[in-house]
């Protein structure tokens, strides 16, 4: 995802929509590629997801409502959304910091640091899960000193947040970093010449340009963390009402042969994911348009 946002923000090619479905072009292949895209998308994504919604609607509407608003399910939304939100906020700062350091400063080992940022993306989530649990349990490298301070990480909501910070960090860094790298030095210099101090320059010149990418990174990381399962089940403790995430609840419903109930909850999370992603794409698209003017 990194290079996508990286260059999508840099480029300014989306033209305003006007007229018919498709604007005229001399290039061939629209029918073929568009057709194939829709066909493959339907086959792999839309039909399976359609099956999910159809299955959910084998329940009556009141039953669906009762299922997706049961106290334990509501508690799982709270913990999942709450932890994902806190993780995204933490990453907002940590991600900006890392992106800033990588984009602005030169120091030894920088390229290693830069490569390491993508580790959570490349590392299988189950491996991340057992590694994090090993490190953060009360007898682990970091868990033991933290436990001395009275902070328990593994098997508490903090553990969920740690896992979510881990898996969504690259998204925040990689959306902000290219924008920072591209930021024109002249703007900052002009701001300084006009008498602004460094903080004022950051606040009034750099931040407004960064804001959309910060938001995109935030939302991407948030969306990613909402769905995370593999790494969290190891570290969460899975206590009903306390540390039980929504994907785990879906699995639990499945194990009890309640397919329709499981799909109803899945449909709720799916709808929220879609809305979030649509928002991200819309913001990016608006942003591109603004820069192209």
């Amino acid at each position: 995802m990194s290079a996508s946002s990286q260059s999508s923000i840099r480029t300014s090619l989306t033209r305003p929509f006007k007229g018919p479905f498709k604007k005229r072009s001399v290039l061939p292949g629209f029918g073929l590629t568009f057709g194939y895209t829709i066909f493959y998308l339907s086959l792999i994504v839309l039909i399976p997801l359609g099956a999910l919604f159809l299955k959910a609607f084998t329940l009556s509407l009141p039953d669906i409502w009762a299922t997706v608003t049961a106290p334990r399910v509501l508690a799982s939304y709270r913990i999942t959304f709450g932890a994902a939100f806190i993780a995204a906020v933490i990453n907002l700062f940590v991600g900006l910091l890392i992106a800033w350091v990588l984009a602005r400063y030169e120091f030894k080992g920088k390229s290693i640091l830069d490569a390491l940022v993508d580790l959570p993306f490349a590392l299988p989530t189950a491996v991340a899960g057992i590694a994090l649990t090993t490190v953060f349990s009360v007898n682990g490298w970091l868990g033991a000193p933290l436990a001395e301070l009275g902070i328990k990480v593994a098997y508490t909501p903090i553990g969920i947040i740690v896992a979510m910070v881990f898996i969504s960090l690259p998204f925040q860094v990689r959306t902000v970093q290219p924008v920072l790298e591209d930021l024109e030095k002249e703007l900052e210099e002009a701001s300084a010449t006009l008498g602004a101090n460094r903080w004022q320059t950051f606040r009034h010149v750099i931040f407004p340009v960064l804001a959309p990418s910060l938001f995109t990174g935030f939302a991407l990381g948030f969306a990613r963390a909402l769905g995370e399962y593999g790494s969290i089940v190891f570290i969460a403790g899975n206590m009903p009402m306390k540390t039980e995430i929504t994907p785990l609840l879906i699995i639990t419903k499945l194990e009890q042969y309640q397919y329709a109930e499981a799909t109803a909850i899945a449909a709720v999370t799916l709808t929220i994911s879609f809305a979030l992603l649509f928002l991200i794409n819309y913001v990016q698209w608006r942003n591109r348009r603004r820069y192209s003017l």
């Binding site: 989306t14 001399v26 290039l27 194939y36 299988p124 491996v127 499981a262 899945a266």
Partner: protein, 315 residues
């Protein structure tokens, strides 16, 4: 800006240097330089903090994997890596990647072509649909294939009666892998192709080349780095997928276990050294991926810069 913050020594005459710096800072150009960069101590603090977070969040877990993997020495490590079940898991993982990645490459190129080169209504909606598998919980990704191909599902009975195994066999593992890695190639190619614009292709078509020729000779050379980059990302995700594959695998030892599932199995057999050894294999592959990615990134960047430069030149 000094080339390396770490290499700036802290001399006893630091105070003198600071005084000199303040003097310089009071000249107009010095003030400017200071205003655009941060004071050294801020820079050091920020770099230190960044290093601290990366070490804490990323490096320590990675180190833990390797530490545990070699807890019983190299022979214990080798024993776990060379067991037949591990190898059959490696093979299955390679098969799943080998099928999923090419499928998604063909799709990615087609989707990027129609999205980047043409304007049509509902483009944002289409892009969002392509993105969707990225944020869907892996559990749901696996579940949808159970709904379709499970014995209680819509097509399950049909396939089982005809002796075709989809769920709890390789086809479902491949399908789930394709699903979770669906957006990666397309999402890498779309911005690269958008940056490239349509002028070169239009010229080629006007000069009488057909669509395929134009694609092979003009478009493909321009996007090759972006494409490779997408393939690497897609492959990394395909190798590491756990949740979705776990739902559709059936966990038949030596037959439907991929590497991440094998890690879990070993872990559940109290073979912690073995579990971490196989995990380290995956972590090692992840590190290789990062290196390849780093190299490709340079390619992608120069690709975009070249495009830009040629555009500016043209204007």
């Amino acid at each position: 800006m000094s080339p390396s913050v770490f290499s700036t020594p802290d001399s006893p005459s630091a105070a003198a240097a600071r005084a000199r710096a303040e003097e310089v800072a009071n000249t107009p150009s010095g003030r400017l330089r200071q205003a655009v960069g941060e004071p050294t101590w801020v820079r050091r603090l920020l770099i230190g903090l960044a290093l601290f977070f990366i070490a804490l969040i990323l490096l320590v877990p990675l180190a833990a994997v390797f530490h545990q993997a070699f807890a019983k020495g190299f022979s214990g490590y080798w024993e776990a890596i060379s067991s037949p079940d591990t190898w059959s898991a490696v093979k299955l993982t390679l098969i799943a990647c080998g099928i999923a990645v090419p499928f998604n490459v063909v799709f990615g190129v087609a989707a990027a072509w129609c999205i980047a080169k043409f304007d049509f209504k509902g483009k944002n909606f289409l892009i969002t649909l392509i993105d969707l598998p990225f944020s869907i919980s892996p559990v749901i990704s696996g579940l949808v294939f159970v709904l379709l191909f499970g014995a209680q599902g819509w097509f399950g009975e049909f396939f089982i009666d005809h002796g075709i195994r989809i769920l709890f066999a390789v086809p479902a593992i491949v399908l789930a892998t394709i699903f979770v890695t669906f957006p990666f190639v397309a999402r890498e190619l779309i911005p690269v192709m958008q940056a490239q614009g349509t002028e070169e292709e239009e010229a080629s078509i006007t000069l009488g080349a057909n669509g395929w020729q134009t694609f092979w000779r003009i478009t493909l050379p321009n996007i090759k780095w972006g494409l490779l980059y997408g393939v690497v990302l897609c492959n990394a995700r395909a190798m590491g997928e756990f949740g979705a594959v776990s739902v559709v695998s059936g966990h038949i030892r030596g037959e439907t276990n991929t590497l991440p599932l094998h890690v879990e199995i070993l872990y559940n057999e109290y073979d912690f050294t073995g579990a971490f050894a196989v995990a380290s294999l995956l972590a090692f592959l992840a590190v290789i991926t990062l290196i390849v990615k780093k190299v490709l990134e340079r390619g992608v960047r120069s690709e975009i810069q070249e495009i830009r430069a040629s555009k500016e030149g043209a204007v």
